[in-house]
């Protein structure tokens, strides 16, 4: 026996399990989960007071390699993931060059084998160069190992192209992850259009820009039968469209980010570029709806949209700075402190959002502590005292709006295929 985690609270929604138990790991796989395992292991870990969950999977990260290694690399991004309690990440294709071919997919997987601390799943571009014009070689990328399709950051504007992409994705049953944004309606804005954009004199992005594309995707998914996953959903009405589509048996899922759950556009006052992201921070009414959706099950997953940027790029005027913030090293503590500790969601629900459902959406053989599954395990300490200090991040970038936040609860240990890749 390789090792045994003793007497932690095992929370595994895939097995409908929540009880104090021992978890035995051997040869990189789960050997047994039982109330008390008599055997001895080479390594024994006392997990009393800790939560033992199937490994967390972040559906939505930007690792920036190849192309912007000054902001992040596969090595640093996955180190940040491990520190943040994630055992796997799915990386968006908006690298330089764009991951729109078998060659780039193979490069990313090659680099991941050499340097990654956690599992890396590449997402392929829907269209060549993510230019929204012609389909990329989806079949060849699928053969090379992509788990989903997305033109994140450069969303497909032409609905006919999106329809074709959905139809074609059926061949491989790949989900299409859409960053929903009608670019004309968003009209070059840099924050949510509302009272605060008026007050601050910043060009606003109409929330309808997102909602329109959520509705479009739901309509096309219904017609084509394709699987659609809405990335970083951020408004009340977007969620209503997803809910309605699901009632109509459309194969649609969605994710939200911690920042869209916890911050509103009021945070932009002061013009910190670490409050600039796309979709933008919305209103109190929206975060109330998202929180309700998190609890009710309307929202399937929490993803970070980890978007590292070099500080030189972020230290600019607000309207000139790039969109995006880092999230891998703050997400788990934010949700533990602000949602689980306050009993807005249960621990079981949190594990579903971070592990069970992301695995299901990407059809990964992960997200479970079933006997024989890969031993990807996230161990949480609900009492851990955390103060967010970007200077301690393992990510190469520091662009977080949560600097200085004091939180309770955080990842204590991250195990990938039976190997401890990070521990406090």
């Amino acid at each position: 026996m390789q090792f045994i985690l003793r007497q932690g609270t095992v929370v595994d929604p895939s097995r409908k399990m929540r009880r104090v138990a021992d978890v035995a790991i051997d040869e990189g796989r789960i050997a047994e989960v039982a109330p008390r395992i008599r055997k001895k292991a080479r390594k024994e870990i006392d997990a009393r007071g800790l939560v033992v969950a199937p490994g967390f999977i972040d559906l939505h990260v930007h690792l920036r390699e190849p192309g912007r290694e000054d902001a992040e690399t596969i090595a640093t991004g996955t180190a940040a993931a491990a520190r943040g309690g994630f055992t796997a990440v799915a990386c968006m294709p908006n690298t330089q060059p764009v991951n729109d071919s078998e060659a780039v997919t193979a490069f990313i997987l090659e680099r991941a084998r050499a340097a990654a601390r956690v599992a890396v799943y590449p997402i392929g571009a829907i269209t060549k160069g993510s230019r929204g014009e012609t389909l990329s070689e989806i079949g060849e990328m699928h053969r090379a190992g992509i788990v989903a399709l997305s033109d994140d950051g450069h969303p497909v504007q032409n609905s006919q192209i999106m329809r074709r992409a959905m139809e074609y994705s059926l061949l491989f049953d790949l989900p299409i992850i859409d960053h929903c944004e009608d670019r004309d309606l968003a009209s070059g804005g840099c924050m949510n259009e509302g009272y605060y954009s008026t007050l601050l004199g910043l060009r606003g992005m109409n929330p309808a820009a997102e909602e329109l594309h959520v509705a479009r995707d739901a309509i096309l998914a219904r017609q084509t039968g394709a699987r659609v996953h809405i990335a970083h959903l951020s408004t009340r009405r977007s969620l209503e469209f997803v809910r309605r589509a699901r009632r109509d048996k459309v194969r649609i899922t969605c994710e939200v980010t911690p920042h869209h759950l916890l911050l509103t556009d009021a945070a932009v006052a002061g013009y910190s570029t670490n409050t600039k992201m796309n979709p933008p921070l919305r209103t109190d009414d929206d975060i109330e709806a998202l929180a309700a959706g998190l609890a009710s099950g309307a929202i399937d997953a929490i993803a970070t949209d980890h978007a590292p940027h070099n500080i030189n790029d972020k230290m600019l005027e607000f309207d000139r700075a790039p969109f995006g913030i880092v999230g891998l090293e703050t997400a788990v503590s934010l949700i533990l402190d602000r949602f689980v500790r306050t009993e807005r969601i249960s621990l079981d629900r949190m594990v579903e959002l971070f592990s069970t459902n992301p695995a299901r959406i990407l059809k990964l053989e992960r997200g479970t502590l079933a006997d024989g599954a890969w031993a990807d395990v996230t161990v949480l300490d609900p009492e851990q005292k955390v103060e967010v200090r970007s200077s301690e991040f393992l990510s190469r970038s520091r662009n977080t709006p949560f600097e200085g936040w004091k939180l309770v609860g955080g990842p204590a240990m991250t195990i990938v295929k039976g190997k401890v890749v990070w521990t406090v």
């Binding site: 601050l200 910043l202 013009y271 000139r320």
Partner: protein, 315 residues
């Protein structure tokens, strides 16, 4: 003598009513300098002011420069087109370089909202916002208030109609916040396409009909309409705009008999305002320009000596 306790002037939003009264009273007192044979006082002798302009500006820039000269400050003019900015230097690096020349105040005009706030966090010098994107133009609002106060004796209770491209106007924002703070009834009027979201929460009543805005108005503030906006589908044509929102002699009859007309300039005659309105006796447009120098002298004077104070947390 009372003084402002702020390090910077970033916007009207941060000023209390007492602050505003102080600025206006000081400006009124300083107006007299313009009538002297030698138009200069030694108030800011030995102080250095940098004028950092990233946008073309004639009126505001010369107004600041004149104010600085009348107070005997040493001036450094820095225009984006002639500077290292055109070589790709960031705003922050430009500011840090200028900061090391130990100025007391930096006057900044910039096309990005929040640019003065960025400087405020990084610089010891007092930052004066001379217009940032669509955000604020505080000295313009203060000179507007001074102009109205001179003519009407006060501001509380007046109906002030602000008419035109509200969405893209920093003057509309600063004026609305200031006049409503001082107790006026502010009406903002523009086509619905040019009225920003929740503008009423800044303190204005909203209408799309100029007649409603003009009805019994004490003050009419016209905003410049950029003719290129018609290509962004904000309105069909400048002709139709003038038909529905242009200030004409006929429409002026709706306002109070002793109404006054203002415009922050530069004007588009025949687009938002008819010439016979702009040039009539009720027009205060040239008073605004004269008061601009006095208000800027007041701000420079009241902030001098505040460099190095802790920047306040402001929006």
């Amino acid at each position: 003598m009372a003084s402002l306790t702020h390090k910077d002037l970033l916007g009207i939003e941060q000023l209390s009513v007492d602050d505003v009264e102080l600025v206006l009273d000081t400006a009124a007192a300083l107006k007299e300098v313009a009538d002297r044979p030698v138009k200069k006082v030694p108030t800011l002798r030995g102080k250095t002011v940098i004028n950092l302009f990233f946008e073309p500006s004639t009126r505001t820039r010369s107004s600041f420069e004149l104010a600085e000269k009348r107070l005997s400050a040493d001036i450094l003019n820095f225009a984006a087109s002639t500077s290292s900015v055109s070589k790709g230097e960031t705003l922050l690096d430009t500011a840090r370089n200028l900061e090391s020349m130990a100025p007391d105040m930096i006057v900044i005009r910039h096309p990005s909202a929040g640019a003065p706030h960025l400087l405020s966090r990084e610089c010891r010098s007092s930052i004066i916002n001379a217009g940032d994107g669509m955000h604020e133009h505080p000295t313009q609002a203060l000179l507007d208030a001074l102009t109205v106060r001179e003519v009407k004796g006060g501001i509380s209770g007046l109906k002030i109609a602000i008419i035109g491209d509200v969405a893209h106007s920093r003057v509309a924002r600063s004026d609305t916040i200031l006049f409503s703070k001082l107790g006026a009834e502010v009406w903002a009027c523009s086509p619905p396409t040019l009225m920003p979201w929740d503008f009423c929460r800044l303190g204005a009543r909203i209408t799309g009909h100029i007649e409603e805005a003009l009805d019994s108005a004490d003050v009419v503030m016209m905003l410049r309409v950029q003719t290129e906006r018609q290509h962004e589908a904000f309105f069909p044509s400048t002709r139709e705009y003038f038909n529905f929102y242009g200030l004409t002699r006929e429409r002026m009859k709706l306002a109070k008999e002793d109404t006054v007309v203002m415009h922050p300039g530069p004007m588009n005659r025949g687009v938002e305002i008819d010439s016979d309105v702009a040039d009539a006796p009720w027009s205060l447009i040239l008073n605004q320009v004269a008061n601009g120098v006095a208000v800027r002298m007041a701000i420079l004077y009241l902030l001098s000596g505040n460099a190095g104070l802790r920047p306040r947390r402001v929006r």
